[in-house]
């Protein structure tokens, strides 16, 4: 026992107390911070997409300008609502004390008009300041997404698309300046008779085929205008059209058994659905990375000829068990650290935040978290024991590749089917993967929120436990036969031959 303990502590310390591990611990918060700030940064640095409208039909420029203004106003109100909700969540003000149109809520035409008639952001800020003694953080108007500018080039009324495109290309490529700076994103040509049945199409000329945001926006504007005109032409009043457009029936997604009114329960259901996804991803990532640590680690001991020194003090089985436990702890440590930190953060910051509070509640109450560690252990033992055996037969990473690459492929094989398992947790693929030991632990984690039959959970888990036990025995044989053998070519033939080696040829 003492020997195992020493091996465990050695294996643990050589990975945990290193600069590399500290860096790894830092990388994850830094990455998530970057991810969180990426959209903010993008927003802050994004220039408005500029376009020119060549209107040969007439009246479209006003339609587009109006839509641009509406979109911008919605963005302003959206930012205002976020601002108020953020302050409310941190307990600085109470959103309910604000009167319409400044109280957060859905943005319809009425509220929009009232909001800007009342004085817009500046007035809202003044009213909010009256509710609290605190100094309010700064709030700026969001940037405009799109900007229309007047035509830059004289174009003959009968010029075709190619001629127009060629004329504007220098502006799109930044070779010529446009008013307000930046590059021209697109030129939109609206032909005469646009929108009539069997009429000609409008054309969106651009040098950047990847960006479809502006085109999608304009297409929506054109479609709405044409539809509204058609409704009016068929005898509806402008008010009727507005009323029809405002129709937006809700369709709430409610987990069967919960109540639609129980907002908290609905939130909990969403989290209970999302959590296993995240946990499965972590499971996969950790098993893969700790498994390859096991491989390099075993190869190091074999190629640097350390192993015989070890074996003169501990048995091969003790060495193997010690390594398996030590590296399992290495895999668990970052998870525990992040779970602990996350939990502390949620507890401190999440006081007023419903989502975070529910997340915390779900993590504490649901069996998902303990099950996660349980399946981590099984999945880890399954893969790590194979890596251990491969490592024992190889004296270099290059040597090991012919054996370890197929294992990596096996691990990645179900990737294309993951979506179908998520969408249909009791479907054919989900059930098939449940019964393949290499994937049982992932499949069950993903399926848990879909309430699979209990016998399937228990049966597949029992089978996984049996397979893991067999793997440990079988891979243990290979490890003991291979670990002191001198080089030679490692392939599947030697791999299985090692497992069959008589007892006398194995290290104790």
């Amino acid at each position: 026992m003492r020997g195992i303990f020493e091996i465990v502590s050695h294996e643990y310390r050589r990975y945990i107390f290193t600069r590399g591990f500290l860096l790894f611990l830092l990388i994850i918060p830094v990455m998530s911070l970057l991810g969180a700030s990426a959209s903010f940064l993008q927003d802050a640095t994004k220039a408005a997409k500029t376009f020119v409208l060549i209107d040969r039909d007439g009246g479209w420029a006003d339609v587009v300008d109006e839509a641009l203004e509406e979109q911008h106003q919605r963005a302003i109100i959206g930012r205002w609502d976020d601002f108020v909700m953020g302050l409310t969540a941190s307990g600085l003000v109470d959103a309910e004390a604000l009167e319409p149109p400044f109280a957060p809520g859905p943005v319809d035409a009425e509220r929009r008009e009232a909001f800007f008639a009342a004085g817009g952001l500046a007035e809202g800020r003044r009213r909010l300041a009256a509710l609290t003694s605190m100094e309010l953080p700064p709030l700026e108007e969001p940037r405009r997404d799109f900007r229309r500018i007047d035509p830059l080039v004289e174009i003959a009324p009968d010029a075709d698309d190619q001629a127009i495109g060629t004329a504007y290309l220098p502006y799109m490529r930044g070779e010529k300046e446009i008013p307000g700076g930046g590059r021209l994103t697109a030129v939109v040509v609206i032909p005469e008779g646009y929108g009539a049945e069997d009429g000609p199409n409008a054309v969106y000329l651009t040098d950047n085929m990847a960006d479809d945001e502006l085109r999608a926006f304009l297409r929506g504007v054109f479609r709405e205008k044409l539809r509204n005109d058609a409704f009016v032409a068929r005898g509806l009043s402008v008010e009727d059209v507005a009323a029809i457009n405002a129709l937006s029936p809700g369709l709430s997604k409610v987990k069967a058994g919960s109540s639609a009114e129980d907002e908290a329960q609905r939130l909990r259901d969403t989290i209970e659905f999302g959590l296993p996804l995240g946990l499965t991803y972590i499971l996969f990532f950790v098993v893969l990375s700790v498994g390859s640590m096991m491989l390099t680690n075993t190869i190091e001991e074999k190629s640097n000829k350390i192993v015989e020194m070890l074996l003169s003090s501990v048995s091969a089985s003790q060495l193997m068990i010690g390594k398996l436990i030590g590296l399992a702890l290495v895999g668990v440590t970052p998870m525990v650290i992040f779970a602990g930190l996350g939990f502390a953060l949620i507890s401190i910051l999440g006081a007023g935040n419903e989502v975070l509070a529910t997340l915390k509640e779900v993590m504490l109450a649901s069996p998902l978290v303990p099950l996660f560690f349980f399946y981590f252990l099984l999945g880890y033992l399954l893969y790590a024991s194979i890596y251990l055996a491969i490592g024992a037969l190889c004296s270099s990473i290059q040597d090991a590749q012919s054996l370890s690459t197929p294992l990596t492929i096996i691990m990645l094989l179900p990737a294309p089917f993951i979506m179908s398992v998520i969408e249909d947790p009791n479907g054919l693929f989900a059930r098939i993967f449940t019964w393949i030991p290499f994937y049982t632990h992932y499949a069950l984690m993903l399926r848990l929120s879909g309430s699979p039959p209990l016998w399937e959970i228990l049966g597949a888990t029992a089978m996984l436990i049996v397979v893991v036990a067999m793997m440990l025995t079988f891979m243990g044989r290979i490890y003991r036969a291979g670990i002191l053998q001198a080089g030679g070519n490692a392939n599947w033939k030697t791999f299985f031959a090692a497992a069959r080696a008589p007892k006398g040829e194995k290290v104790r």
């Binding site: 020493e6 640097n304 350390i306 015989e308 003169s312 003090s313 048995s315 006398g504 290290v507």
Partner: protein, 303 residues
């Protein structure tokens, strides 16, 4: 009795690596374990350390067949040896001590003490990969001493060491002997064995061919007479028990005589035959020569 090997046989499949081998090591002895590459030395030592199980026979350490327990009192330096490249010298010495059952704090203190004793304190916090090969090998040796072993088993300890370090190691083994340690080491460098060992065990093809002191070895060794003469000594063949005449260099011949032959009679026969005798005497066999004879090594193998 520190180590006793009784009729041990080790088979790998159809291959018999060690065959019916018996020998023992007494307390305070330094025993050389000699044999060619592939003679079965490493396999035997691995069986003593319970790394490999015996096929038949038994091994006793400190009078007990419980090798798991006994090996904790043994310092074993394997032939194939290495260290974790990223570990600090002090940590590695302490770690191998802890594996032998020395408590953590004591292992570290002992590691410090060893480094100091061998003048290597300045390397204590260096990673192994930054050390020279010779220094790394010294760290290796120190790492088998942390638990103050009563019995040292060193498999080819001199291989890979330069002459200066070979001398250092030789001195170290001498020091340990003076402190009462028992040492069994395998080698194929006969000069070290000859200087250090009280007794020798020689094996060939997995079988013991000799066990005893160097004097006993010389006695067991079939002695030859060295005759130096400018004449042709072949008429001696068949006279006074001379069975073979082997030229061994310029005007020098080794005479093999049958058992019980009288050296004086051979000399008399020379004079009688008119062979000029420039020198005449018994061959003083070195361990090197005895080794070749017993272990049957070709010159090139054992250099």
């Amino acid at each position: 009795m520190v180590l006793s090997i009784n009729r041990v046989t080790k088979e790998f499949g159809d291959f018999r690596a060690v065959s019916d081998l018996s020998f023992s090591v007494d307390k305070g002895e330094i025993v050389g374990f000699l044999g060619q590459n592939g003679a079965g030395k490493t396999t035997t030592l691995r069986m003593v350390m319970d790394i490999l199980p015996v096929t038949s026979g038994s091994v006793e350490l400190f009078g007990s067949t419980d090798l798991r327990k006994g090996r904790l009192r043994v310092g074993f330096l394997p032939e194939e040896r290495g260290l974790y490249r990223k570990m600090k010298a002090i940590d590695i010495i302490a770690y191998f001590g802890r594996l032998k059952g020395v408590p953590g704090g004591k292992a570290k203190a002992k590691a410090h003490e060893l480094l100091e004793r061998f003048g290597m304190t300045q390397y204590a916090n260096n990673k192994i990969e930054t050390l020279s090969k010779g220094n790394a090998q010294k760290i290796q040796l120190l790492s088998v001493l942390t638990h103050e072993p009563e019995f040292l088993i060193l498999d080819e300890p001199f291989s890979g060491l330069d002459p200066v370090n070979q001398k250092l190691l030789e001195d170290l083994i001498g020091d340990l002997r003076d402190e009462g340690a028992t040492v069994l080491f395998s080698t194929h460098t006969m000069e070290h064995a000859e200087r250090l060992c009280d007794r020798f065990v020689m094996i060939k093809g997995g079988e013991k061919v000799f066990e005893g002191t160097i004097d006993e070895a010389r006695e067991a060794y079939e002695q030859r007479i060295i005759l130096a003469t400018p004449d042709d000594p072949s008429p001696l063949q068949g006279r006074a028990g001379v069975t073979a005449i082997t030229p061994i260099g310029r005007d020098r011949y080794a005479l093999t005589v049958s058992e019980g032959s009288d050296m004086q009679a051979v000399l008399a026969a020379c004079l009688e035959l008119g062979i000029t005798v420039k020198s005449f005497g018994l061959e003083e066999a070195s361990l090197h020569e005895i080794f070749f004879r017993f272990a049957g090594a070709g010159e090139e193998d054992a250099a």
